[in-house]
Amino acid sequence: MSLLELTNISKHFGGVRALHDIDMTVDQGEVVALIGDNGAGKSTLVKIVSGVESPDSGEIRVRGESARLVSPRAAAEAGIRTVFQDLSLCDNLDAVQNLFLGQERSGSVLTGRRIRRHVMEEQAQRILESLSVKLRSLHTPVVALSGGQRQGIAICRALISDPAVVILDEPTAALGVSQRGEVLDLIGRLREQGRGVVVISHDMKDVRHIADRVVVLRLGTKVAEFRRGEYTPSDLVSAMTGAHEEGGDL
């Protein structure tokens, strides 16, 4: 039984066919890479699985049961956490508040769910350090942070609630060399913990390195699926671009 199973997912935006009959599964302890050219529909697929967009048609099953992911909340309750491509941080909140947004460590209802800021700060410090994210202060609004710092926070956030499936939409795009390394390690650790991971990346080297399975989208359709070791770099590129002559410098 797969952790996550998509069947026949389609999505239109007005006249634009963003996704067409996509099938995809994610198993326990498996890293699935989702690749494709710009505008292929990767982020749209991610948004559907995270409850941000609803598909026009198709079915989503979580642990074998049909799930209606009508909102990000519903997806989170089904154990799916996502790092969005645009990060989706609240600019006016600080790093700690963003990290725990929607899953604050708080006291009982009697105290009106009083925030236990000290607990959160301590946990935040730990998790940020584990990804080498360096912040000068935990109290500045994230709008004042650098691109990489923001991405680091977005990634840490997805891990805080111990999710079953983690979806990462271009998680390393803005990261520095060492942070990038940490994230790749992290993905390995997530796999070892038996979670399902979906990674979107444009870096074919990373993809080959971490992915157990590669799903290729082109213009909204799934054009290929490869298992680890069963493809060459040029297979990926030709699947993505639809051209067989291009191999690139991979």
């Binding site: 969005f84 006016n92 947004l101 009083r114 925030i115 000290h118 700060e121 709008v143």
Partner: protein, 396 residues
């Protein structure tokens, strides 16, 4: 994708204040307030008499209470135009029940608050359905103008002079009791701060006992100073106590709880908040419910001060004053920025201006000129102190 970015160097003054304030947006407003007071005092020494300060606090009570509700709505990025008229409707309900129908006062008050919340609940549901809040509350305002005609008895007025209802505003807490309350307040605050200090220590976070002593001393100064000044006349006026308690509760919920963080998140970036799993619609509804309750309280305090309710209750400049108070105090019209202190501080600024202008006995025209320009200048000074160089990054 708009990000506040400075396009010019900050003024040195703003640095000082930034350091002094450490995120306390209220300090520049306090400076502005001090300037306003100094200017009017130099024109008329009666301005800072105990009597006039007491007047001032009573005068702004209604605006401050309503502004408090408005702040909640602005924080989630919505706007409201109906709550002033709603306050009139709720006052009419309460006064009608307490005076004309002879219901016990607490029951009448409870019914009025419940009605206020029911009405804003309906508004909020329409808003979360997708109709812009400006339209819903404008339409709501018109409907409520009709409703107050229906709620009022056929003579379109309820007089509450000499009834228990009048006590809401006219009760004065004796000086002794007031000091006890101030002491209790200070103690509770100090204990809370001490508890937080212990909590932080337990996780090994950097902290120091100064974080307990300084705020507690400040709170003590404000509470005892306030009680001293405001009990000069006849004891502590009840509306002041009501405002204080409401601010206390609002402070706790907006800054110390999960609810508060969600409030700011929804106002800061609604989409991001929703993606984080926050029930955005519900948060908007909560804000409007709080507004409804505040409007009801404001209306009752107002009616009890004016000893009557009529079709003009809640009309006039109350609505704009409440919104302006929130904005003057530093709350953004665009959501996500501001604090509950802006309600009381903004109401104080606006009230101080209008009180001072009236005291000077200027001609009508000059009163208008003075009121309008002092308001703009006051906020401009605030901008110079903190926000000026941020244009056009910040908008509100």
């Amino acid at each position: 994708m708009s990000v506040a970015t400075e396009t010019a160097a900050r003024t040195p003054a703003s640095r000082v204040i930034e350091l002094a304030g450490r995120g306390h947006r209220s300090i520049p407003v306090l400076v502005v307030l001090a300037i306003i007071w100094a200017v009017f005092y130099s024109q008329s020494s009666a301005y800072l008499s105990f009597r006039n300060i007491t007047n001032l606090t009573l005068q702004i009570a209604t605006t401050a209470i309503l502004a408090l509700g408005v702040v909640f709505v602005l924080l989630v990025g919505e706007i409201d135009l109906s709550s002033a008229v709603l306050s009139g409707v709720c006052a009419a309900i309460a006064a009608g029940l307490a005076v004309n129908s002879g219901l016990p006062l607490p029951v009448a008050i409870a019914v009025a608050i419940a009605s206020g919340m029911a009405i804003t609940l309906i508004e909020a549901l329409v808003i979360t359905f997708g109709v812009p809040s400006l339209i819903v509350t404008l339409g709501g305002m018109v409907i409520l103008q009709g409703l107050i005609l229906v709620v009022l008895p056929p003579e379109f007025t309820v007089s509450v002079a000499g009834t228990s209802f009048a006590k809401i505003a006219s009760t004065a807490v004796p000086a002794g009791t007031s000091y006890v309350l101030a002491a209790l307040g200070t103690l509770a605050f100090a204990l809370y701060k001490a508890y937080q200090y212990r909590e932080r220590l337990s996780t090994g976070a950097r902290t120091s006992p100064v974080s307990v002593v300084v705020p507690a001393a400040l709170v003590a100064a404000v509470l005892f100073g306030g009680v001293y000044i405001l009990t000069r006349q006849r004891g502590l006026p009840m509306p002041v106590l009501i405002v204080a308690v409401m601010l206390l509760i609002a402070w706790y919920f907006t800054t110390q709880t999960r609810y508060g963080i969600h409030l700011y998140a929804v106002g800061g970036d609604r989409e991001a908040a929703q993606r984080a799993g926050i029930p955005v619609r519900r948060m908007v509804v909560y804000s409007f419910l709080i507004l409804g309750a505040c409007a009801a309280v404001a209306g009752m305090v107002d009616a009890s001060r004016q000893l009557g309710v009529s079709v003009t209750s809640g009309a006039g400049p109350l609505m704009l004053n409440a919104i302006a108070a929130a904005v003057v105090g530093g709350t953004s019209l665009f959501g996500g920025r501001g604090s509950i202190w802006s309600a009381i501080l903004g109401a104080l600024v606006i009230g101080s201006i209008s009180n001072g202008v009236q005291l000077l006995g200027l001609t009508t025209e000059v009163q208008y000129f003075a009121t309008g320009s002092v308001l703009i200048i006051a906020v401009a000074v605030d901008v110079v102190l903190t926000r000026g160089s941020l244009w056009p990054g910040r908008r509100s």
